[in-house]
Amino acid sequence: MTTTVTTETTQPTGFDHLEIQGVKKVFGENTAIERLDLTVRKGEFLSLLGPSGCGKTTLLRMIAGFETPTDGAILLAGKDIVSLPPHRRPVNTVFQSYLLFPHMNIADNIAYGLKQAKVPKPEIAQRVRESLELVQMEDFAGRRPEQLSGGQQQRIALARALVNRPQVLLLDEPMSALDRKLREEMQLELKRLHTKLDTTFVFVTHDQDEALAMSDRIVVMYDGVIQQIGSGEDIYANPHNGFVAGFIGKQNFIPAEVAATDSTTATLRTANAVLTAPTLTLRPATAAGEPRPLEIGDRVRAAIRPERMHVAPAGENSGEANTARGSVISYSFLGDVIQYMISVGDNDEILARVPAAGREPISAGTEVELSWDVDAVAVYDGEPGALGAAREGGA
């Protein structure tokens, strides 16, 4: 079985393929996207990740041609496509609600784009068969969309877009209607297709796990502005600002004040503890701000990932530089890890995740000592209230 649905361009992978230059989009009085620049490389799997209303879908719709930018240019292989209507753009979309044509069978749905492109009939038949094979739905050609399950319809929607050999495949939260297990299957499927086809994928999602699992690069967006672009590891390990730190993964944010600085570290005083941070740089709350040097007296937020926390019964000294006393409020056993909610001082809560590894969970009410590496601490500028997705904690 030879399945050869590939893009016909010969540019090497990594070539700057889709360029978004200074794009701005205003709806009435709302600015959905604020002067955005982004370059998508050829053959890349790029995710646009952010909470709802961050502008990611608007950006995708501008690439597809359903929205016109208020300002700026969108270049595909060097040519500005802003003035082209959607049906003239060499991109195809997989929609959130699949949008298969209910009055056509599956084969006719997939053939739709090829017919518009006036591809000869024998070739249409050939390519429809190939793309049905590609999504492993060969036996469904004659069915009607309403006879298929959500996951099956999603595969057909993928096949219907890919059969046209688009230069860029746009995916608008295509899995949000699927249940968890099916979603994980589809993620693997999509990754497999991407590897096989070498097509540029631009994937919109609000689900960070989905973005982390599939993407070559992730674009984190918030409030119409790109907050950070990078690989999953990079964004997780090295968030450039407080929004990214809180949005990707879980995070303990502890309000603190800078008490002292030396040549490489800063000493932060919180309500209930003193902790050392391995940095003299204050990272901004969002991409709107700039990093700046820490100064004594700055009110900041110290951020520590729950998995960097060590939890030990009180009295067992871990030898780490940063420690705090607390008591376990509750724990949840998540299989691979145990997640503790620990109160420190008055009404402040810290989230800690420790490997389960056969250990007995520490029961609620037990006095514990929290500790963490100096390296685990990052320092962000304040204003936690604006960041809905971030988990707030205090100590």
Binding site: F66, L99, K121, I124, A125
Partner: protein, 312 residues
């Protein structure tokens, strides 16, 4: 089997249903159909086999025959019948041609906030008395009416407007009277096909015209069918429009039937004419459906992808 005693499942939530039974509870529905449709229709069928015994009696049914049918099909009836059919078919077609772009515009181009206003503008004349709005056309189309005067003063006409009391006037009148019945189902059907599916079509390379022909129109077909039925069937039996606007040259078969019942007091012949009208209407509708199915099968054949392996 379990020996546990379970509380007995209530067979019906309403005690009244249990007491009277479902047939009694659905009385309003079947009584409506029985008393206002089945019995009157059965009477018409029955009367069409009767005869007019003397000048002062409208109907007698003491001996039954098919003789009223040939009697009803006089030369003038047949010619009026075909004229009526022409007016109805042409009227339905014209309604469709006018309503389709209008409904498309209303469902797709008009901002949702203004849609109810536009729909109200369609509906308000429709809620006005049928006779009154038809009389309005009589005033407008009359040779010394304002339309005639304007067209003459603008130099569009040499003499007075010569439309009133012709078949053209009836044609204009029925299209006007029945247009809302075509617009509404078409609007609903086009609206239901949805913006998102049109976007999917554009995304796959189809322009606006192709999207209309391949997605919007096929999905709106149920609306087209119900609109055509809603217009054609009552239009075929209409006699008010023809009475007001048609005069001698623009009469419709509904008038002939009404004459038999009201003026000539010959219910048997009137009933036979009504039966001929009902049956022929059903035949035309049946032929229309067959043509539609044939057309859909042919377009489906032309458009489908032969996958050569029996799967499609």
């Amino acid at each position: 089997m379990s020996t546990q005693t379970r509380p007995k499942q209530p067979r019906s939530k309403r005690p009244a249903t249990k007491f009277f039974g479902p047939a009694a509870m659905s009385f309003p529905t079947w009584a409506y159909a029985l008393f206002f449709f089945i019995i009157p229709l059965a009477l018409i069928v029955f009367y069409s086999f009767g005869y007019k015994p003397d000048q002062f009696t409208a109907i007698a049914t003491d001996h039954l025959s098919f003789d009223r049918y040939p009697e009803a099909m006089s030369a003038s009836f047949v010619s009026t019948f075909f004229a009526t059919l022409r007016i109805s078919l042409l009227g339905t077609l014209l309604c469709l041609l006018i309503a389709l772009p209008f409904a498309y515009w209303l469902a797709i181009k008009v901002a949702p906030a203004r849609r109810s206003l536009a729909l109200a503008l369609v509906m308000v004349p429709f809620w006005t008395n049928f006779l009154v709005r038809t009389l309005g056309w009589q005033i407008m189309l009359s040779p010394d009416g304002f339309l005639s005067n304007w067209m003459q003063s603008l130099g569009l006409l040499d003499g007075p407007l010569d439309i009133l009391y012709t078949r053209t006037a009836v044609q204009i009148g029925v299209v006007y009277n029945y247009l809302p019945l075509m617009i509404l189902p078409l609007f609903v059907a086009i609206d239901a096909s949805g913006k998102k599916l049109r976007e999917a079509s554009y995304d796959l390379g189809a322009g606006k015209v192709k999207t209309f022909l391949r997605v919007t129109l096929p999905m709106a077909m149920p609306g087209v069918v119900s609109g055509c039925l809603l217009v054609f069937i009552p239009l075929n039996g209409d006699y008010v429009t023809a009475t007001v606007l048609g005069g001698a040259s623009g009469s419709m078969v509904g008038q002939l039937i009404a004459n038999q019942f009201n003026t000539a007091q010959n219910w048997a012949v009137g009933a036979a004419m009504a039966m001929i009208l009902i049956i022929s209407t059903l035949v035309v509708v049946g032929v229309g459906f067959a043509l539609l199915k044939l057309g859909q099968t042919i377009t489906a054949r032309l458009n489908s992808v032969p996958l050569h392996d029996g799967r499609a």
